[in-house]
């Protein structure tokens, strides 16, 4: 099997020599492997990209999809920006909160699910939009929340 280092070299090859363009793909790859961007993950990525861990950290903290704290095995991102908000996104958030017994921004004690409110996901016409493990669920309403949670493998 190819090592992380090799895969990153493969990513670097897609961009001009000496550019740092591979940093986002590489960080995403590291996050897939470690679940989140731990100190080790960032150091590993920095080494493969021949940059400093500080540089990787600086980049990672700029982008919302890169996690600098552990997240659950599943992530549930509820859009609460205007269009969804106008169509009841708050009730959807609260439905997830009560079903999971956590507040938005938290992870269930068993480390299974992380619930977050997020900015516009670009599905405004199909409110409320919820990204379940980065896959969009549209027209989500409080009633559909239990079903969504049920579908999570080994769901809570």
């Amino acid at each position: 099997m190819t090592t992380f280092y090799d895969e990153v070299q493969e990513l670097r090859a897609r961009y001009p020599e000496g550019s740092r363009s591979a940093v986002l793909p590489a960080l995403r790859l590291a996050q897939e492997r470690h679940g989140w961007l731990s100190r080790e993950a960032l150091e590993e990525t920095a080494d493969a990209l021949e940059v400093t861990p500080a540089f990787c950290y600086s980049i990672a903290t700029f982008y919302d999809m890169l996690h600098l704290e552990p997240v659950g095995r599943h992530t549930i991102d509820v859009c609460t920006n205007l269009p969804c908000a106008l169509c009841g996104a708050q009730e959807v958030v609260e439905a997830f909160e009560s079903e999971l017994g956590i507040r938005a921004g938290e992870t269930t004690p068993d480390g299974e699910v992380t619930l977050r409110a997020v900015e516009c996901l670009g599905g405004c016409g199909y409110a409320t939009v919820v990204a379940v493990n980065d896959r969009y669920r549209q027209h989500v309403r409080p009633e559909t929340v239990p079903e969504i949670l049920g579908e999570l493998d080994g769901g809570t």
Partner: protein, 439 residues
């Protein structure tokens, strides 16, 4: 008037994500036509078509191509802006999901015009399904030998609205923090990797094949003279049938809202329309008899923007609307330039004091003045995007703001449709330093 599908033509009848299906309706013929022309002739054609950028600024696509420093010894780049993150906008996404090859064909044509062999499509990280469809389509077209010496790389963002701003996008694509660059130098002279670069929105590029099919002259006759062609309008909020509708530019806004989108949901009253995505000045119900095109909307003091209408009914508190909108722009501010970084946070604080009834009349003037101090002083328009809508709410619904102050709180009680709405910035920041900063 019915929809007029150009970018989405054929998507109802066929699965245009398949190369064969797309070719069956004449797909990729434009590439051959284009390659039979000299770059200069092609650029001339594009300029004639007067296709205006769909990303917001409305700058003519052909003009932009003509500005590319093609004599430069450096490689030329074409970059497609697929970062679509403006609240209310979801049109680029539909093009990529339903007609990816039309976008790719547009890329190949535009690349030929600016003599580029390197194309990057920067797609927002959240669009996972769309990324997979587009990447597969690129692969299929490449294997079919349609690319010639052109290379198309689909590059995923990772969650930052600012990366839709063209120079921030370039920085992000170069592997840096997505912070805008000072201009000049402009991308056509010094863009990606310091080389001449053409940047266009997904819908702009996906319209290019139609220009070659119809010919610039014919194309220029569609839509309205000042803005030819069609646009995919995203309409969302309190309407019966929200969604995307591809219409000729110049279609009346009332028609879109009341015919295509079926009017206001639940028999409520129309209160406001934010016509270009959440970043533009809102319109009052008496302002919606306006043609949907760049100049007409400009004439009534708002913007065409991302052709994305957010329809707001009478249950909504305008102060809460302002808070939620400003929290978004504050959260997305890149932190590079002072007025945007500091001003947006300050605006949130002022608005919240108005909402919770601790503000005075002077705070309304302060809100206005803080906005003025951001306008025209920022490095990129994000800071202004925070101000435009809020300024319009404050002026057009001033009574509502005043009522908050005089009643010492929200006149809607808890009945506003946005009551208690949570924003990501209410949750957490990345570092402990950040968390403390929240208190």
């Amino acid at each position: 008037m019915a929809e007029h599908k150009v970018l989405l033509a054929g998507t109802d009848e066929r699965d245009l994500t398949q190369l064969a299906e797309y070719r069956a309706i004449g797909g990729y013929r434009g590439v051959d036509k284009a390659r039979a022309m000299t770059p200069d002739a092609l650029i001339e054609e594009l300029q004639q078509a007067n296709l205006r950028g769909r990303g917001g600024a409305g700058f003519p696509m052909g003009r932009k191509a003509s500005l590319i420093d093609r004599k430069s010894p450096k490689p030329k780049y074409l970059v497609v802006n697929a970062d679509e993150s403006e609240p209310g906008a979801f049109k680029d996404r539909e093009v990529m999901a339903k007609a990816p090859h039309r976008l790719i064909e547009g890329c190949l044509i535009a690349a030929h015009a600016i003599e580029s062999t390197d194309v990057f499509i920067y797609i927002r990280g959240e669009y996972l399904a769309e990324y997979e469809i587009l990447a597969a389509a690129v692969e299929e077209a490449r294997e079919a030998g349609l690319f010639g010496d052109v290379r198309i790389t689909v590059h995923r963002g990772a969650g930052a609205y600012i990366c839709g701003e063209e120079t921030a996008l370039l920085e992000s694509l170069e592997g840096k923090r997505g912070q805008p660059r000072p201009r000049p130098p402009f991308p056509p002279i010094q863009g990606l990797y310091m080389a001449p670069t053409q940047i266009n929105n997904v819908c702009t590029i996906a319209t290019v094949p139609a220009i070659l099919e119809l010919g610039a002259e014919e194309f220029a006759k569609t839509g309205v003279p000042s803005s030819p062609g069609t646009a995919i309008f995203s309409i969302s909020g309190n309407v019966v049938q929200p969604g995307n509708y591809e219409l000729d530019l110049g279609t009346p806004m009332r028609e879109l809202i009341y015919e295509h989108a079926g009017g206001i949901a639940g028999g409520r009253e129309l209160k406001a329309v934010i016509p270009g995505g959440s970043s533009v000045p809102a319109l009052t119900p008496d302002q919606i008899d306006v043609p949907l095109d760049y100049d007409s909307l400009g004439a009534i003091g708002t913007f065409f923007g991302a052709a994305s209408l957010i329809v707001v009914d009478d249950r909504c508190c305008m102060v809460q609307l302002a808070i939620r909108s400003t929290k978004f722009y504050a959260h997305e501010s890149c932190g590079k330039c002072t007025p945007c970084r500091v001003g947006t946070r300050w605006m949130v604080q002022i608005l919240e004091s108005i909402e919770n009834g601790t503000a005075t009349h002077a705070d309304l003037e302060l809100l206005d003045s803080v906005g003025d101090n951001i306008l025209g002083k920022v490095l990129c328009a994000l800071g202004e995007f925070a101000v435009y809508p809020v300024a319009s709410y404050l002026h057009k619904w001033r009574d509502e703001f005043v009522a908050h102050i005089e009643q010492g709180g929200c006149p809607f009680g808890n009945s506003s449709s946005l009551d208690g709405i949570l924003a990501p910035s209410d949750m957490h920041a990345h570092t402990p330093a950040g968390e403390e900063a929240l208190v």
